[in-house]
């Protein structure tokens, strides 16, 4: 075995790949070779480290120096200066957005040291394409312990005692699901991993599959033993090609090592896993729709009961859990239900991974104990709102959830408290909006999504969401009417109560929550035909400020509809009727004389 004096981790999650990390890594490896360092320094491609907006990201161990936005030239400089001469390159360090201080090491970054990583324990730490690295981090030890020392009942009891709840959205106790499937009598059972992560803004499942695929394989195999299944399926979205590739590679490696297949660890237990790739349908994240899709059919949901634990895939009892839920299983087996139960709050145990995106300094993935407040996540972990702007709202639970406002910044993020605050945990997407966001536009936006993704099987969801969308559309175009809000409430209630599956039942949530918190914005749209945040284009008008206009005529030249007229050296004017609000004049004016209101 080779010993290296330094390990250099290069994040190769999909976010960093899109920022060009593969070229960065190639340059680093190449420069190391030129300098003769390739036998002393090991460059490792890891899964998502979590700081997506800082990519490409490199961490140099043993010092733990964290470099961000590393270009190919920077990578060569790191090889020459840091790896060869031991000098940290200050220019490439991370700067704390709140204190403006340079942060010398990984451990000193608030983004990392406030986190507790259980589901993400290996993501960004190991090379996901090398099974030995997973094994070195206690990988497959939980499976060995389960198969050689535990009974299925004991496994189910451990998961139940841990208090783990489903991380896909509903928060159903995982141990109960395992128990139902265990007790269902059948000659054939299945274990399914739901990796159809469709909630806009949630990407933890992708990152786990890309960064630690063996954790899912091991947990599914444990689940198979516990419930009495010998076949597993992972249903992955087609939008995640990298996750599919790494999972396939991991499956092949696990089979070669005998962790999958016949007589695992020389026991009587056999289990294997197949990948099924989706074809673009949000509703397939709903469990009964997902099962229909695995069967090769239209992914339409069906009424429950019977639940999949009784009648699932091909009519057989099926355990179906989400990726992040499975990612918690092995640590629970290894360290015990008591250990897990000490983390989090009374009813929400363990940690939750949040995918933080939108108007925030550090976008990316963070895993924190349940019960941390929104303020801590937004300001302490993620560095607050950029460009000195104010926090306005955060949407949790994606298109099924609601928003939290400034007044709810100190709300604890756990299942019950979020619901009490009018939102929900959902799969953990956290979209942060600053003062420039229009809450009518956002509600319209989320509804447009659910309306588009409605599978069409039941009437309330298919037609009801359409009617709601039409009303919101009118509002954003300045055609809102008195009574619109009441109509929205009425439709929302009907859709909630009569839709077939969770997609429809929760579709009105964002609208209701946004009206509740930002009623005055809705009133401004309806009564004053005004968009206070200045987002809704149809409600805006453009003007040229006489004191700033120098009469250069640039605006008139870029105007596509000849709506601007005037003479050189005099103040130009915009003819409202002709203006299509394309913003071209505002962008072009060198003197800031064009304003939008």
């Amino acid at each position: 075995m080779n010993f290296y004096r330094s390990h250099v981790l290069v994040c190769a999650g999909a976010g960093c790949v899109s920022s060009g990390c593969l070229n960065t890594m190639e340059a680093l490896v190449d420069e190391n070779a030129k300098l003769g360092l390739d036998r002393e320094i090991k460059v490792i491609e890891t899964g998502c480290i979590g700081t997506c907006d800082l990519g490409p990201v490199i961490v140099v161990y043993p010092e733990g120096v964290f470099y961000r936005n590393v270009t190919t030239d920077d990578a060569r400089e790191i090889a020459r200066e840091h790896l060869l001469k031991g000098r940290t390159i200050q220019r490439l360090l991370y700067r704390n957005p709140l204190t403006s201080q340079l942060v010398q090491t990984y451990g000193e970054m608030e983004f990392f040291n406030r986190q507790l990583r259980i589901a993400l324990r290996n993501t960004g730490v190991i090379n996901p394409e090398v099974i030995e690295e997973y094994i070195a981090r206690d990988g497959y030890e939980a499976l060995a312990r389960v198969l050689t020392t535990m009974s299925p009942e004991e496994v189910v009891a451990t998961v139940t005692a841990s208090g783990l709840r489903g991380r896909g959205g509903a928060g159903f106790p995982t141990g109960k699901k395992w128990g139902f499937t265990f007790r269902a009598m059948s000659d054939q059972k299945y274990v399914v991993c739901n990796a159809d992560e469709g909630d806009p803004g949630a990407f933890m499942d992708r990152s786990i599959l890309e960064g630690d695929p063996h954790a899912i394989i091991e947990a599914m195999t444990i689940a198979g033993f516990a419930v009495g299944a010998n076949q597993g399926y992972v249903y992955v979205r087609a939008e995640y090609p990298l996750a599919v590739k790494r999972l396939q590679l991991a499956l092949d490696q696990a089979r070669n090592y005998g962790f999958l297949g016949k007589n695992i660890f020389s026991t009587n237990f056999s289990f294997d896993i197949l990948i099924r790739v989706g074809a673009g349908a949000f509703v397939c994240g709903e469990e009964t729709a997902l099962l229909a899709s695995i069967e090769g059919k239209r992914g339409e949901p069906r009424p429950r009961p019977p639940y999949p634990a009784v009648k699932g895939l091909w009519g057989k009892p099926t355990l179906i859990n989400n990726v992040e839920t499975f990612a918690n299983i092995c640590p629970i087996i290894l360290y015990g239900a008591d250990w897990y139960g000490r983390i989090g709050t009374e009813t929400s145990k363990g940690t939750k991974v949040f995918a933080v995106a939108g108007n925030i300094n550090n976008t990316g993935l963070v895993e924190v104990p349940m019960g941390m407040t929104l303020r801590q996540v937004v300001y302490d972990v993620c560095g607050g709102i950029p460009n000195g702007k104010e926090f306005k709202a955060a949407q949790t639970g994606g298109p099924s959830g609601g928003c939290l406002t400034k007044a709810e910044l100190d709300v604890a993020m756990d299942y019950e408290t979020l619901i009490a605050a009018g939102s929900m945990m959902g799969s953990g997407g956290l979209i942060v909006m600053d003062e420039d966001a229009c809450m009518v536009d956002m509600a319209r936006f989320f509804l447009d999504f659910t309306q588009d993704e409605s599978c069409g099987k039941c009437t309330p969801c298919r037609i009801g969401t359409k009617r709601m969308l039409e009303i919101l559309d009118r509002m954003t175009k300045g055609e809102g009417r008195e009574g619109d809000m009441e109509a929205l409430y009425g439709l929302a209630e009907n859709i909630r109560e009569t839709s077939l599956c969770g997609l429809g039942q929760s579709a009105p949530n964002p609208v209701l929550s946004m009206i509740k918190h930002f009623r005055s914005e809705y009133e401004a749209h309806i009564r004053e035909k005004r968009c206070p945040a200045g987002v809704c284009q149809a409600l805006m008008s453009y003007n040229i400020l006489a004191n700033k206009c120098r009469g250069c005529g640039l605006c008139a030249r870029v105007c596509p509809t000849a709506a601007i007229f005037g003479k050189p050296k005099e103040v130009y004017r915009i003819e409202r009727k002709k203006c299509v609000k394309c913003n071209a004049c505002l962008e072009k004016c060198p003197f800031g004389a064009v304003v939008r209101a």
Binding site: S18, E197, G201, R237, E300, T363, G429, I431, C455
Partner: protein, 159 residues
């Protein structure tokens, strides 16, 4: 452009016996089609191979947004316009692409090189706004970067 049926048929034989293999067969046919779509002949082929009515296959194909029933360009540009991308300006990216390619979302360029589509969340919200060309994701985009990016694909097509 439409290949001999026996060749298409051979591409899906492997999936026929598999449980739930029909979606895999459709994926395979579409990815191996020159114009990135499933033709009526493909759909008939799948129906006969799997022993299901043609209507059933049509129903399945049109249910999923990643299957196309009309010819598309060689490269599919998918623009993410979901909430995290939306709040950081995805609509500007889409508008810029429409302007640059002279097509609307859903359309194909006259040279048959690009099809522009809106997509569901690509799951790279940390680097929003993002687009995906075929299976490559590009993040932290500005509209100024787009012409150079597309030029790479054009050059590759000419080479």
């Amino acid at each position: 452009m439409i290949e001999a049926p026996n060749k298409r048929s051979a591409q899906i034989d492997v999936f026929v016996g598999q449980p739930g293999g029909m979606l895999k067969a459709l994926h395979a046919l579409q990815s191996q089609s020159e114009a990135n779509f499933l033709s009526p002949a493909d759909i008939k082929l799948v129906a006969s191979k799997f022993g299901v009515p043609v209507a059933k296959v049509w129903g399945t194909v049109t249910f999923y947004s990643l299957f196309a029933t009309t010819p598309r360009g060689r490269h599919i540009i998918r623009v993410c316009e979901n909430a995290p991308c939306h709040v950081v300006g995805a609509s500007d990216i889409l508008a810029a692409l429409e302007q640059h390619l002279k097509i609307r979302a859903g359309g194909t360029t006259t040279d048959g090189l690009f099809t522009l589509e809106a997509t569901s969340c690509l799951g790279v919200c940390g680097v929003a706004p993002a687009i995906m060309i075929d299976s490559t994701v590009y993040g932290n985009l500005t509209k100024e970067q787009l012409p150079a990016l597309l030029a790479e694909y054009r050059q590759e097509a000419q080479a």
